[in-house]
């Protein structure tokens, strides 16, 4: 199931920020909460977080851009993450990643032109004894082979 996100709304954004602003070291918590609701962290939210936490806008921008997880724009309708770390490499992950790229016609780190699928590398899902592994919209899949990766790609394209 693809997650449903709300369109950006400043009032809703302010509400989410206010909900977490009193926590110790709240920046990451707020960024995660915004992304969970909107699917990415909209640019106008950055100065709002800064104001709520009494920090500079540059500081929040710095945090936002440091971490791989935070999105600057919405992802495709489905997000397929393929583990590209050593244990999955050892179990044939390179060939499967190439196969997924070819099927989708995009390289890892990109979204298909129809905005259906975002294909991303991930560095370890902790499923190293059932490698190679992947995650489709939060659902984990292990022991990938050609048939399984084809099925995952097809599911993501639906």
């Amino acid at each position: 199931m693809a997650p449903a996100y709300e369109p950006w709304n400043a009032d809703r954004g302010a509400e989410i920020i206010a909900e977490h602003a009193r926590l110790e070291g709240a920046t990451l918590v707020i960024l995660h909460a915004l992304q969970e609701v909107f699917g990415y962290v909209p640019e106008p939210a950055i100065p709002m977080i800064a104001q709520a936490l009494n920090l500079s806008r540059a500081e929040i921008h710095g945090v936002f851009t440091f971490y791989h997880d935070f999105r600057h724009e919405p992802a495709g309708r489905h997000v397929l993450k393929l583990c590209r770390a050593e244990a999955c490499q050892a179990a044939g992950g390179d060939a499967l990643a190439a196969r997924a790229e070819a099927k989708l016609g995009i390289a890892l780190g990109n979204t298909t032109a129809d905005d259906r699928v975002t294909l991303e590398p991930i560095y370890c899902l902790g499923l190293c004894a059932t490698a190679p592994s992947a995650m489709l919209d939060g659902r984990v899949v292990g022991r990938l082979d050609e048939a399984r990766i084809d099925a995952l790609v097809a599911e993501a394209q639906r």
């Binding site: 070291g25 050593e86 490499q89 370890c124 499923l127 592994s133 984990v140």
Partner: protein
């Protein structure tokens, strides 16, 4: 009475279909009018047998695996007649791969319901905390020191000394931080224990809190582990309801509470000072040490920061097991290590055993060699920053010092097996590339060195002045090893140098390599 059937809710089991098996079990039971209760446990760690289903009988739990939804009808026939089945593995506890282990930290994982405090207590849970509450801080520290426990995150620093430093520091506030940013490929023990026995982590952290005088703890879990986040949050809520967290825990004078924080995909945040920065809501930039986190840690306050497995080892030790724990192991590596067998391996999973077992026993005997059936060529021990070892080094005992003596490290106990199709120059390049992507950028050897490393290995692979460029790599590795601020830049040379040392032939230009292979 309803028949109890146990199926893991461990992410590794779910990834290979455990949820579908549960749905099939419930459907088949309803169709047959057979009342069953499905208990979702953690995994026993025998991943080639997942999804593993266990059925409660008078003789004990009978295991079947790997079960697919299509196997469920025939499984029910076998259960009803107590008859044979192709997937029947016998009594779970008697499975040789499990029986060979010494499960101290993972004793309950795969056995208990990770959502239930009652089940945890019924399996000796909270005995360590109950005893700790009757002891002075010094007496608890003496137990931790006696056990010989060293930090299981990889650095191997004596836990007793770390705790004592924080206990002796005076401050208005202190913190306990659990490092659950298990980013090393080939490791999954933290994930398994958080999903399968989260209360043991909570109990260990609570004991740390009452020992050093901290009332607040954080568990920093990587975002790639959503199942672990959910399991820890559920367990924390359950522990609070049962007065094992919160004010006046278990009716004592101690207050201690926990909060889960989720990382955001930065590998470097597994480094303790970077993790603290991240917890404070900043970029995960490594801090220079000193000051040590024990003196100035989270929000500048004295902080115990330990790996998940270190905290998870504590309840056994405090439940009167300090001496027993120390009796396992070799040299200065005391106790047991939950070793993770991963990658291209036949019998992959979690194998907890006393330090001292050799690498060869782990790979060939326990692990059964490769999954592909081809010869093992290289194993990487200790994650992306660990060395690649060839078969010639398989006599190395699993112990901090023995690995260090051979220019390797045990790290967090992960072993990734590669067969003979591996290209070691490519693996060396990956190590540098990974460091370049994940470097926090604070120190030059790591930030610049890793990028130059990628470029230089590319030149070597292209056959450009190979010997000269290998000398450049060796020099670069030396600079990174001794000039970096933390283990990311400091240990990236391990996989690179070991690949060069043990698999030099892979660094020859491609045509030469092909000729050599012919």
């Amino acid at each position: 009475m309803k028949m109890r059937i146990f199926v893991p809710r461990d992410a590794g089991a779910i990834a290979v279909g455990a949820d579908d098996v549960v749905a099939a079990l419930e459907q088949a039971a309803e169709k047959r009018g057979l009342p069953i209760t499905v208990v979702r446990t953690g995994s026993r760690g025998l991943y080639w047998l997942e999804p593993m289903v266990e059925v409660e009988t008078v003789e004990g739990r009978v295991a079947y695996g790997p079960v697919s939804p299509a196997d469920v009808p025939s499984l029910f026939d076998a259960i009803a007649n107590n008859g044979p089945h192709a997937l029947r593995l016998g009594i779970a506890d008697e499975i040789p791969w499990l029986k060979r282990q010494t499960r101290l930290t993972f004793a309950r994982c795969g056995v208990v319901d990770p959502r239930s405090v009652e089940d945890y207590r019924a399996h000796d849970g909270y005995k360590g905390l109950e005893r700790a509450l009757t002891l002075t801080s010094d007496a608890i520290l003496a137990d931790v020191t006696t056990s010989g426990l060293r930090g299981r995150g990889g650095a191997g620093f004596p836990t007793g000394i770390k705790w004592k430093t924080v206990a002796q520091a005076s401050a208005d506030r202190k913190y306990i931080v659990c490092n659950a940013d298990e980013g090393d490929s080939g490791t999954f023990a933290d994930r398994m224990i958080m999903e399968g026995d989260p209360f043991v982590v909570i109990e260990g952290m609570t004991i740390a809190g009452i020992t050093v005088g901290a009332t607040k703890g954080y568990i920093y879990i990587r975002s790639e582990y959503p199942h672990a986040v959910e399991a820890m949050n559920a367990a924390i809520a359950a522990a609070r309801r049962a007065s094992f967290l919160g004010d006046r825990i278990c009716g004592s004078a101690h207050n201690f509470d926990l909060e889960v924080r989720v990382g955001a995909g930065a590998y470097v945040c597994g480094e303790e000072t970077s993790l603290l920065e991240s917890l404070e809501g900043r970029r995960g930039i490594v801090r220079a040490k000193p000051p040590l986190p024990a003196h100035k840690g989270l929000f500048g306050k004295p902080t115990v920061i330990n790996n998940v497995l270190s905290f998870a080892a504590i309840p056994f030790i405090l439940a009167g097991g300090a001496k027993a724990y120390a009796d396992f192991g070799m040299g200065r590596s005391r106790g047991t290590m939950p070793i993770q067998l991963a990658g291209n391996i036949k019998y992959g999973g979690l194998f907890e055993i006393a330090f001292g077992i050799t690498l060869g026993e782990l790979i060939d005997d326990v692990g059964g060699g490769t999954f592909t059936g081809r010869p093992v060529r290289a194993v990487q021990v200790g994650g992306p920053l660990g060395a690649y070892f060839p078969r010639e080094l398989f006599d190395t005992p699993f112990d901090y010092e023995s690995f260090a003596a051979r220019d390797g490290l045990i790290g967090h106990g992960g072993i990734v097996v590669f067969d003979d199709s591996v290209d070691m120059a490519k693996q060396a390049r990956f190590a540098m590339e990974f460091c370049a992507v994940e470097s926090c950028g604070k120190c030059t050897p790591c930030r610049i060195g890793s990028t130059r490393g990628v470029e230089t290995i590319d030149k070597i692979r292209a056959g450009e002045r190979v010997e000269e460029n290998i000398a450049v790599i060796e020099d670069l590795c030396n600079t990174m090893k001794f000039g970096s601020l933390c283990a990311l830049g400091g240990f990236t040379p391990y996989p690179v140098s070991s690949a060069l040392k043990h698999f030099r032939e892979d660094f020859a230009p491609v045509p030469t390599r092909q000729q050599a292979a012919e």
